[in-house]
């Protein structure tokens, strides 16, 4: 018994447990998703987050302890973001040809994402801190958190809302656009990236390499545009 307690003390102190558990949970979630015919609501990110939250709550583990282990996975987001340049460079010829439609669609989509969140959140009476934290929801976590900090929201809440937005986009994106009769993988991919950043991009890559490349482009461009747009709108509307 004494020895068992010692083992538990060791496990609690090393980052190994939560790192291993995060990988196991994600692996299982992915198997589940594939076995059940890639049903959108079983999105592996969504299932993994819910499962890990339940495990943390059940064991009374603080998020900080969990993150001590999981940060090694989180860290890889940086190099993975850089790696998005590779599929993008593969589309260089088309990019040169279509830069004008891309710039216009990006501006329309980016403005819609921020303005509709602002209007709806205000109409539905969201708390002002929640609303501010929600505005950069469509862009990748590190950009969104930086923007929130700048406008006086809660960066850690933004991280969560960003992930929820990504999951929403990944779940509804392809079925919704298909329902509306859109087949073009370029438009689908680009829209997934603009509205649902990296999680939308991960989903777009499953759809096709081409959709994924454009999704990565949409995500990168919208990240830059939103970083400029959100502070401007907040200032204009005096939030």
């Amino acid at each position: 018994m004494n020895r068992l307690a010692q083992v538990w003390v060791y496990i609690e102190e090393t980052p190994l447990l939560w790192l291993a558990l995060t990988l196991c949970v994600f692996w299982l979630a992915q198997q589940l998703y594939r076995r059940l015919g890639e049903f959108p609501l079983l999105n592996p990110v969504l299932v993994s987050v819910v499962a890990l939250v339940v495990i943390l709550a059940a064991t009374g583990t603080p998020y900080e302890d969990y993150f001590d282990g999981a940060q090694f996975i989180h860290f890889l987001l940086g190099p993975a973001t850089v790696a998005l340049a590779v599929p993008l460079a593969g589309q260089a010829r088309e990019l040169r040809r279509y830069w004008r439609p891309i710039a216009i669609a990006l501006s329309a989509g980016s403005l819609t994402a921020v303005a509709s969140a602002m209007a709806l959140g205000w109409l539905l009476g969201l708390d002002s801190q929640t609303l501010l934290s929600m505005l950069p929801k469509s862009v990748t976590t590190p950009i969104a958190m930086g923007v929130t900090e700048q406008i006086g929201g809660l960066p850690s809440l933004t991280a969560v809302l960003v992930i929820l937005t990504g999951i929403t986009g990944a779940v509804i994106g392809i079925p919704l656009l298909r329902l509306l009769g859109l087949r073009d993988p370029v438009a689908k991919g680009f829209a997934m990236g603009v509205a649902a950043h990296g999680i939308g991009t991960a989903r777009a890559f499953e759809h096709s390499e081409r959709a994924g490349a454009y999704s990565g482009l949409g995500m990168g461009l919208n990240g830059a545009l939103t970083a400029l747009l959100v502070p401007l709108l907040v200032w204009l509307f005096g939030l």
Partner: protein, 114 residues
């Protein structure tokens, strides 16, 4: 593979350094991506190992968002208090942004060989 990983990290590092020096409102990795993109265009094509390593990493992109997502546990009370308004805003706004982006791009590219 190690070389490719080192290259990715160096581009990220370059991005972080430039952002800190210039005060650009962009995260380092995003600038790193733009720098790598420019380098790949200038070079014409990347070595195969490099492409394989990058694709390997991107295959697991979804996994990399899990640790940040679990952070919802720190905001459970706020999120449960406002869950209806948060859900409606988030889902409607995301759907709207996606539809506007996809259809404006399609409208602007049809008839141009797409």
């Amino acid at each position: 593979m190690i070389g490719s990983l080192a290259a990715l990290l160096l581009f990220q590092l370059a991005g972080e350094i430039v952002v800190r020096l210039t005060g650009l409102p962009l995260p380092g990795p995003v600038l790193g991506m733009l720098l790598l993109f420019a380098a790949l265009l200038a070079r014409g094509s990347a070595p195969r190992v490099f492409n394989d390593t990058s694709r390997g990493l991107l295959n697991y992109l979804a996994l990399l968002f899990v640790p940040a997502g679990v952070g919802i546990i720190s905001h459970l009370s706020r999120v449960t208090d406002e869950w209806v308004a948060i859900t409606v805003t988030l889902v409607a706004s995301t759907a709207l942004a996606m539809v506007v982006t996809a259809f404006s791009l399609r409208a602007l590219t049809t008839g141009r060989g797409e």
